[in-house]
């Protein structure tokens, strides 16, 4: 019983990480039709900026309020990076899908190379508050606090995104744009501003995933974003392009499946099962769990 509770909560921690990466990816694809392979870079920038800030930024540090400042700096850096990528590289290519893919793949590779050249290819220990290294006893299971932190953060981000989509003017534009972007422009709305906004939201969530994921794993490495991005893409496809709620359900399914199968089967079998789940969803429900609707 303890094992099941532990696996469920660590699986939900993994799901939280996937959701933080996938939510922005899904909105960007749903609204702007951009398959952003550079999304993992936003995660990497967030993680490294947090790591750098904890050691160098005045007022920031590895513990207490200083750590909050460091994470906020990391999130700000990831958001800025996402906005710059959209404005400088993606915006001129909105009608050119192949070039978009080439640019984002190239940027992703260049970004990893730059991180490696600056801070080395090896994983580095991540400064983190002492309490995140400890565990909390829940119904007899010893659950890592880092995982609980991820679950709490993802829940807050999910609530914030849904509230934004439901209650704000830009949220309305994004929901409508995911359904029919052309018709949004035909109502006199400059939808490009919404594109920049979804990139910013996606960049912020991915950067948060980078910072808190590094807290969970205890290390930061240049390849971190790329490996998480593969599962984030799977989550987006299973959840349905453009659906934040769909991404949340899919992230939970993928996280739990991976965790349980890896524990009760062979290590690595969980990843294969996730790919099998993706294949089943694509065969039975190609539009994903929630289809192409930005649900609020």
């Amino acid at each position: 019983m303890d094992a099941i509770i532990l696996l469920t909560l660590t699986g939900l921690g993994l799901a939280a990480l996937y959701f933080l990466v996938a939510s922005g990816l899904s909105l960007v694809f749903g609204l702007a039709d951009v398959l952003n392979f550079a999304h993992g870079l936003f995660l990497g920038v967030g993680a490294y900026a947090t790591w750098w800030a904890a050691g160098n930024l005045p007022g920031a540090g590895p513990d207490g309020f200083g750590f909050v400042v460091a994470v906020a700096f990391g999130v700000a850096a990831g958001t800025l990076m996402a906005v710059l990528v959209e404005l400088v590289l993606i915006r001129p290519l909105y009608s050119r899908t192949i070039e978009q893919v080439l640019v984002t793949v190239g940027l992703s590779l260049a970004g990893v190379a730059l991180l490696q050249a600056t801070w080395g290819a090896d994983a580095r220990p991540f400064p983190r508050p002492e309490w995140t290294r400890q565990v909390t006893s829940i119904l007899g299971a010893q659950v890592p606090n880092g995982g609980l932190l991820l679950i709490a953060a993802a829940t807050l981000v999910l609530g914030a995104i849904l509230a934004f989509l439901r209650w704000t003017r830009y949220g309305l534009i994004i929901r409508a744009g995911v359904e029919n972007r052309e018709m949004v422009t035909a109502l006199g709305i400059d939808v490009r501003k919404a594109f920049t906004l979804v990139f910013a939201i996606g960049g912020a969530a991915a950067a948060l995933a980078g910072a808190l994921g590094s807290v969970y794993f205890g290390t930061v490495s240049p390849q971190q974003g790329g490996s998480l991005l593969i599962f984030a893409f799977i989550v987006v496809v299973i959840g349905g392009m453009g659906s934040v709620v769909g991404s949340a359900y899919a992230a939970v399914a993928v996280g739990l499946l991976q965790q349980f199968v890896n524990y009760y089967g062979t290590s690595g079998l969980g990843d294969i099962c996730v790919v099998a789940l993706l294949a089943v969803v694509l065969l039975l429900r190609p539009q994903g769990i929630a289809g192409k609707v930005a649900t609020a």
Binding site: R175, A176, N180, M183, A186
Partner: protein, 243 residues
């Protein structure tokens, strides 16, 4: 005295995926009443409206001159044209199915101008009653009213309306025609319409397209009176012309 047209289309050519859909189309739209764009299926009527409002698809290109007042329209982004007073009601309504009626209308609101909800609800009281209903669950007629209402929330210099009665029940077709008739009293309309009874009721001027070119322009009622001409241009029988 010569009346200045509200819209001038000159030598408009549109190529999509390598196909020449429009080839040097030229016509004008009068500053009052309804000008109807007619033609058989696939002659480029919708392509013309979409080119005017800047919605030529990514794999296409539009050349020529389109002017509204002193403003050149081609090459301007759609949202700017619409904000400049070009209202567009697309074929198949294109309401946002996942949003409520109120949200569909709210989307059309613009900063700096007061949305004319009174005007919209006077024409379509049903929209007020169904404000919280999802647009995807409305009937075809109600969706059409929402599509028109959304555009009427703001003041327009010209309305482009694409096949508003397509797929609607005869009773609803009459209702939509009545609404357009009232709308056309205050704003000129360029209408694409296949239903000749609606054309007879609404249109003053007609532009007939054939194979991507203008085949005939003139008085719409005169066109409908000339059965042979109508048959040769539109491919319809006398029964359809006279009812």
């Amino acid at each position: 005295m010569t009346v200045e047209p509200v819209l001038t289309v000159a030598d408009l050519s549109v190529r999509i995926a390598g196909l020449h859909i429009l080839q040097g189309v030229s016509f004008t739209v009068a500053p009052t009443g309804v000008t109807v764009l007619l033609g058989r299926n696939g002659v480029g009527k919708t392509t013309t409206l979409r080119a005017v409002v800047g919605l030529t698809p990514r794999n296409g290109e539009a050349h020529g001159t389109v002017r509204m007042g002193g403003q050149t329209l081609l090459a301007q982004p759609t949202h700017r044209l619409v904000r400049g007073g070009l209202g567009y009601v697309p074929e198949d309504r294109c309401v946002f199915a996942g949003l409520t009626v109120a949200e569909n209308l709210r989307l059309a609101e613009r900063r700096g101008s007061t949305p004319a909800y009174d005007r919209v609800f006077a024409l379509f009281p049903e929209l007020d009653r169904r404000a919280r209903q999802r647009a995807g669950s409305l009937s075809g007629g109600q969706q059409q009213m929402l599509a028109i209402g959304r555009v009427l929330l703001n003041d327009n210099r010209l309305l482009l309306v694409d096949e508003p009665t397509k797929g609607l029940a005869p009773k609803v077709v009459t209702e939509v025609a009545e609404v357009l008739e009232r709308v056309a009293e205050s704003v000129p309309v360029l209408l694409v319409e296949q239903n000749l009874a609606v054309v007879r009721r609404l249109a003053r001027d007609a532009v007939v397209l054939a194979a991507g070119k203008v085949a005939w322009t003139g008085d719409a009622q005169e066109l409908l009176r000339e059965t042979e001409l109508t048959r040769s241009l539109l491919g319809v029988g006398s029964a359809e012309v006279h009812h």
